[in-house]
Amino acid sequence: MQLLALEAERLRNLAPLRLEPHPRFNVFEGDNGQGKTNVLEAIYLLATLRSFREARARNLVCWGESDAWVRGEIERRGIRRKMGVELAKTGKRAAIDGRVVDRLSEYFGHLHVVVFGPEDLVLTKGAPVNRRRFLDRAIFNLHPSYLDEMRAFVTALKHRNELLRASAGRGVDRALLASFDEELIRRGGRVLWRRTRFVSDFLPVVRAVFDDVTAGAHAIGVDYESLAGLAADADEDACTELYRQRLSEATPSDLRQRRTTQGPHTDDLAFSLDGFPARVHASQGQHRAMALALKIAELQLADSVLGGPPLLLLDDVSSELDRGRNAQLMAHLSRAAGQIFVTTTDRRWIAVDGETQVFRVEAGRVLPEP
């Protein structure tokens, strides 16, 4: 998978952008606030129709302008396609080969990206919701229909929580609760099954990447924490039946606490370092290395599932790692395949041999260096 050309207009502070990326390493060098990350935002938007830093893609439109667009030409398995996204006041429009898609879900599946930036430190340090979000996005990248499945689960969960909340003082309509329980169980069973399948492929890769990036100096443990008794090889029916059992056991307590205590919405990935819980025992640098291992593992898994590595977007990564780990990261990336886009304040951080195009970013202008 390769990005052959990228164009953008009115995106953040970027001057009209036209660039032809290098098939391997693209380094965007510039001082802070010049627009380096906005180049990565343009690529991320093209692939996902979202922003990786803003809650709403709409916020990527240059201040004072009413619309913005990004276009790109990609090649995947020998097929070239033109992709385009327009952010207008009326909403997002996405087009493939000049044809506007009716449903945004038709747009996905052609260009995949994995992004890693300073905000990703919350992956291992932050609250579980960050790790669930990571899991969900990684699964969605491999199985686009997961988005609808996840949304349906969240809808069922909200309805059930509302029933529990409203039951205060006047009891609950058992038949009504049972109906939404059943929907929650079915939709939740699907989500649990998707996650179970994903982590059984994914976690071994995370451990291997972490060993590689840290040269085996520490032993990392990472486990999927979900419903008690969830087997690593459970199929969808087994996930659904287990959820049925756990939900029914928890219902008296759910009614007291007036919220749903069991289900995929409480899942987590638990990290340990040399046998101790990482959240409290790992240093800042070790957290960085773990978060990066998660991202690179996502990339590698996507490579094997999608038949080609996604684009890797590394935002200001080198300032986040110490010199030793940085050198190991660069060595790892040089060995791995794929097209990589890195932003940095100083290109000397990016120690890769040849196969590199440097772009200088100044006041929103992106210029290739000869």
């Binding site: 609808d148 029933l163 009504l176 109906s179 929907e183």
Partner: protein
């Protein structure tokens, strides 16, 4: 909105129009000004039509379809099969079945689906007379034709429980691949549902 500068009658109309589904304050104001720009006869005709609507059109006391009398034309039609009852969310769904020409039984319009988040519980649906109807009609099968989203499915499950005391057979419409649809364009969720709901070839 600087609606306080407007005459009270105009402001009142705007606030009433703004309660219509899909109409916001801005569209409501535009509609109100449009009416003001038209000959007076238009406003009289419109208000007359509204009054006539509420005076002459009611909901059928049995199935809650729109009706000019106490009962709708479907419930009054002696040629309809009276032993099957199809439960739908809204009148638009009923009309879709009628257009298909594939169904000859009676209907029951819920006027909504269960949605606790929106404050819609069983009491907000037109359910009160459903069990009574089934017993009075001697219904042999109830077909639940709510949509396949979370609310539609939960409503179907609720109906199954709600109707259990009547002993009537309750069925659910199938979900899956649309006719004439090319399989490769069907989304994965629908496809896996269709696979689960497969039927033997005869």
């Amino acid at each position: 909105m600087s609606s306080s500068r407007l005459p009270q009658a105009l402001e009142k109309l705007v606030s009433l129009l703004a309660r219509l589904p899909g109409i916001g304050e801005r569209s409501a104001t535009r509609l109100a000004f449009y009416m003001l720009s038209q000959p007076e006869s238009y406003a009289r005709e419109l208000s007359g039509a509204l009054v006539e609507l509420v005076e002459r059109v009611h909901f059928c006391v049995d199935c809650h379809m729109v009706a000019e009398g106490e009962r709708c034309t479907i419930c009054e039609d002696p040629s309809r099969e009276r032993t099957t009852l199809c439960v739908v969310e809204g009148i638009a769904d009923l009309l879709a079945f009628e257009r298909s020409g594939a169904y000859h039984g009676l209907y029951h319009v819920l006027h909504g689906v269960l949605a606790p988040l929106k404050g819609v519980g069983p009491d907000e649906l037109r359910l009160a007379n459903l069990r009574g109807r089934i017993e009075a009609l001697g219904t042999s099968e109830v077909i639940v034709a709510t949509s396949s989203d979370v609310e539609g499915e939960a409503t179907a499950l609720y109906l199954l429980r709600h109707l259990a005391p009547t002993g009537v057979r309750v069925s659910r419409i199938a979900t899956g691949v649309p006719m004439g649809g090319e399989l490769e364009y069907v989304d994965a969720t629908t496809l896996s549902r269709a696979l689960r709901g497969r039927t033997p070839l005869e």
